[in-house]
Subunit: 412 residues, 2 copies
C-alpha cells in the first residue's frame, strides 16, 4: 500500500498536465501507428560517422577535465565555438554572453524563472511552440497572443497592442518568437517584419526571445538574417539547439543575450542542475570546431527537402477539397488547415484508430484556439509511411467509415 | 550599450545569490591555490578504461535510438538496471517508480516544485547539504532545522517537533536527510536512528527524502542499510547519483519513490528539459550492466581511504589545540570545528591569501548558523597538496602572521 501523497502536493502540481505532444507518445509506442506527431529528427540525419570521429578523439586525448564538475554557464571551449558559429549567422556574439543549457527547453524554463512574477505579461505568437507553455506556465504569466500570417507575426497588430499596454503603464516581460521555419506552422518571418520587430523592441523596451533551432535546416530559398543580427541595441535574446543538427540525446542548447541576463540565468541554473552534461558539451564543441557539422548539414537539408516533397505530393493527391497546408522552405513541420467545422482534437482518436496520428493545432494557442489545424511532422517518417499515412488521414477527414483498426481488433 | 533589464526581473531573481561553494570557484581557478572547497571526485577515480569499453560498445552497436528524443522519466533499460542496483541495497525497487534526473540536484529541484507552496514546512538537518537550499528556496519554504550528533539526526528532538507541529495541525511536506557519509559532516546515521526515522515518517505521514550519493564510497566498517530498505510503508524517497561512482559530467541522478510522486515529477520535468541526456543514460546503463562499476568501486574506496588518512594525519600533526574534526568511514568530506570565537567565513579571505580554501560551515545551516566549522574535502587534492594545505590552514587558525601571498605579490 503506497501512501497517499496527494494532500502534500503544491497547488502548481495539481494544475500540471501532460502536453499534447508528450501524450501522443502513448499512441506512438505502437510501432504500427504512423506518427506525424512528434517533432523528431529523422534517424538518418544523425551524423553517426562524425560521432565516431569525435568519440575516438575524446577517448584518446586526456579527457579527464571534461568528466569533472564544470562551470554552470557552460564549457568555455564550447562557448567560444558557439560565438564563432553565431558570428557566421551575422550575430555579433560574445562567449561571455552565452549560457549552455540542457536543451533549449531549459533556456525557456530559465527565462520564465528569471523574468516572471505571477500576472506578468508574456507575449507569444498565435500559434506558438507549445514548449513555451510547459516551460513557463508554472510562473503564472498572463499570455498575450499576437496573430500571424504567411510572413510571420503581424507587427502592426503587435504595435497597437504595445501602445495600448504602454498607455496603461504595462510592459511585457518579453515576446517569444520562432521566426524561421516556425513550429508548428513552418512559416518564416519576412525580413521587413524582422526589422519592424527590432524597432518595436527598442521603442517599447521589450526583450525579444528569438528561438532558432531550425536555422540550418533551410532547403529552399535564401537565408533570412536572424532577428538578433539586425538588433543594434541588445534587446534580442537568441536561442539555439543541437537537437536538430546533431542529435537530441546530448541535450545541448544555448542562449545568447545581455550579460546581466545570462549571469542571472546561470545563478538560477546553479540551483536547478549545477551545469549541463559536460560530455555532451565536448561532443558539440568537437562537432563544430572540427568542421564536421558544416559538412554534415547539407545531408540533412537534402533529406528533409525530399521528405517535405513526399508529404506535399501525398497531400495534393489525397486530401479533400477545402483543406490547405503551408509550404515550408525548411524545418520539420507543415501546418494543415481543414474544414472550419472540424475539430482536429476530437478527430484524433478516430485517426489513431486507423493507424495515423498528428498534433491537433489547439495546443499551440494561448487562450482560445483555432480548432481546425494539424501540425504534421515530415522529417521523421519513412517515405512509405508518409505515402500511406497522409491518404489515411485524408479518408478520416472525408469521414469515410471503413473499419477502424480498433474495431477490427474486436472479435466478432 | 546593453539595455537595462533590471526592472524586468522577477522578485525571485532579485533574491538569487550564488552558493558559497560555487563562489569558491573564483579562488580555485588559480591553480596555485589548494582547494578543500569543492565537492569534487578525484580525477584518478574516473574509470577511464571502463569508459573506453562502454564507448566502443555504444559506437559499434546500432546506437540510433539512444540518440533520439527519449521518454521523460528515463531510458527504460537504465531504469531496469537501477532497480536491480537498488535491490542489491535492500530496497524493494520497481523500475516504474524511478525517474532519471539531470544529476541528483535536479531531483531536489523537482521535489521543491512538486511539493512546496510558499510557507510550507521543509525539514532539514542542521547542518545539511547546501544544494537543497539552492534547489528549493525559490519555492519559499519555511525551513525547520533538526539538530544532529555523531549518530546523525536527533530523532527524539524530531519527534517533539513533529508532535508540536501536529498539535498545530501542521504537517511538513518532507524531511531531507543525507544519512550516509553526510555532506558536509561525513557522519553516518546509526541504524537505530534510521529505524526511528522510518517509524516517525509513518506515524506523522511525512515523506523522507534520503539522498544517498556516497553509498558505495564506504572504505571502513560495515554497510548500514539505507533508510529506504527499512521502510515498509513507502514514505521514503530514495535518491542516487553517478557523479561520485562514474563521473559528474554525465549528469545522471535518479529518484525512487511512490508512483504517484514519480509521475508528477516526470510531468514537471517535461516542461523543464523534456528528458535527461540519453547518451549519459546509456553510458550509466552499460557501466552498471556490464559489471564495470562493481569492479571499479573498490579502487575509488582505496583511494579515498588513503586521502582521508593523509588529511587526518596532517590535521593531527599541525592543527592547534581546541580544534577537532569528524572521522568519516567513507564519502568525501570531513567537518572541522575550531575555536567558537573564530568565524570561518570571515577567515576565508585570509586563508585564500595564503593559498588554501575550504567551505565555511555557515552555508549548511537553515537559519542561524554555527560559525566555527569548515567543510574539508579530502577526495580531490593530491597527497602533496593535502600535506601542504592543512598545515597552512593550521597556521591561519593560529593567527600566525607570516606574509600572505597577496602581500608578497605587492611590490614593496
Amino acid at each position: 500500500m503506497a501512501p497517499n501523497l496527494e494532500p502534500l502536493f503544491a497547488q502548481r502540481t495539481k494544475l500540471l498536465k501532460a502536453s499534447d505532444v508528450r501524450e501522443l507518445l502513448k499512441y506512438s509506442q505502437d510501432p504500427t501507428v504512423i506518427s506525424f506527431g512528434g517533432g523528431l529528427p529523422n534517424p538518418e540525419a544523425f551524423p553517426l560517422e562524425d560521432l565516431k570521429v569525435v568519440f575516438e578523439e575524446l577517448l584518446h586525448e586526456d579527457n579527464t577535465p571534461s568528466l569533472q564538475y564544470g562551470p554552470t554557464p557552460g564549457d568555455p571551449l564550447l562557448k567560444r565555438a558557439l560565438a564563432t558559429m553565431l558570428a557566421g549567422r551575422g550575430i555579433p556574439a560574445n562567449a561571455d554572453q552565452i549560457i549552455v543549457t540542457h536543451g533549449a527547453q531549459q533556456a525557456l524554463e530559465l527565462f520564465g524563472r528569471v523574468f516572471l512574477d505571477p500576472g506578468d505579461i508574456a507575449m507569444v505568437t498565435q500559434p506558438t511552440y507549445l514548449g513555451i507553455f510547459t516551460a513557463i506556465s508554472v510562473y503564472e504569466p498572463d499570455y498575450h497572443g499576437v496573430p500571424t500570417d504567411d510572413e510571420g507575426i503581424l507587427t502592426d497588430v503587435l504595435e497597437e497592442e504595445l501602445r495600448a499596454l504602454a498607455m496603461d503603464h504595462l510592459r511585457p516581460k518579453f515576446l517569444y518568437v520562432v521566426p524561421t521555419f516556425h513550429n508548428p506552422t513552418g512559416v518564416t518571418m519576412s525580413l521587413r517584419r524582422r526589422r519592424a520587430l527590432v524597432d518595436l523592441a527598442a521603442e517599447y523596451e521589450v526583450p525579444i526571445i528569438e528561438d532558432d533551432p531550425y536555422y540550418d535546416l533551410r532547403f529552399e530559398g535564401d537565408t533570412i538574417p536572424p532577428i538578433a543580427s539586425l538588433d543594434k541595441e541588445g534587446w534580442v535574446i537568441y536561442l539555439g539547439s543541437f537537437s536538430k543538427i546533431l542529435a537530441p540525446a546530448f541535450r545541448i542548447g544555448f542562449a545568447h543575450g545581455p550579460l546581466d541576463l545570462v549571469n542571472k540565468m546561470a545563478l538560477a541554473k546553479q540551483g536547478v542542475d549545477l551545469f549541463t552534461n559536460g560530455f555532451g558539451q565536448r561532443v558539440a564543441e568537437r562537432y563544430l570546431s572540427l568542421g564536421l557539422m558544416k559538412r554534415h548539414i547539407p545531408k540533412i537539408r537534402k533529406l528533409y527537402r525530399h521528405k517535405r516533397d513526399v508529404m506535399t505530393e501525398a497531400l495534393e493527391e489525397s486530401w479533400p477539397e477545402g483543406t490547405s497546408w503551408t509550404h515550408p522552405k525548411g524545418g520539420m513541420f507543415l501546418w494543415a488547415t481543414v474544414d472550419p467545422a472540424v475539430d482536429t482534437r476530437a478527430l484524433l482518436p478516430k485517426a489513431a484508430a486507423k493507424g495515423v496520428i498528428y498534433v491537433a493545432g489547439h495546443a499551440f494557442y494561448a487562450g482560445e484556439p483555432e480548432i481546425n489545424h494539424m501540425r504534421l511532422n515530415f522529417s521523421y517518417s519513412s517515405d512509405e509511411a508518409i505515402r500511406k499515412g497522409i491518404p489515411l488521414l485524408g479518408s478520416v477527414l472525408r469521414g469515410e467509415g471503413g473499419e477502424s483498426r480498433l474495431e477490427e481488433a474486436v472479435p466478432k
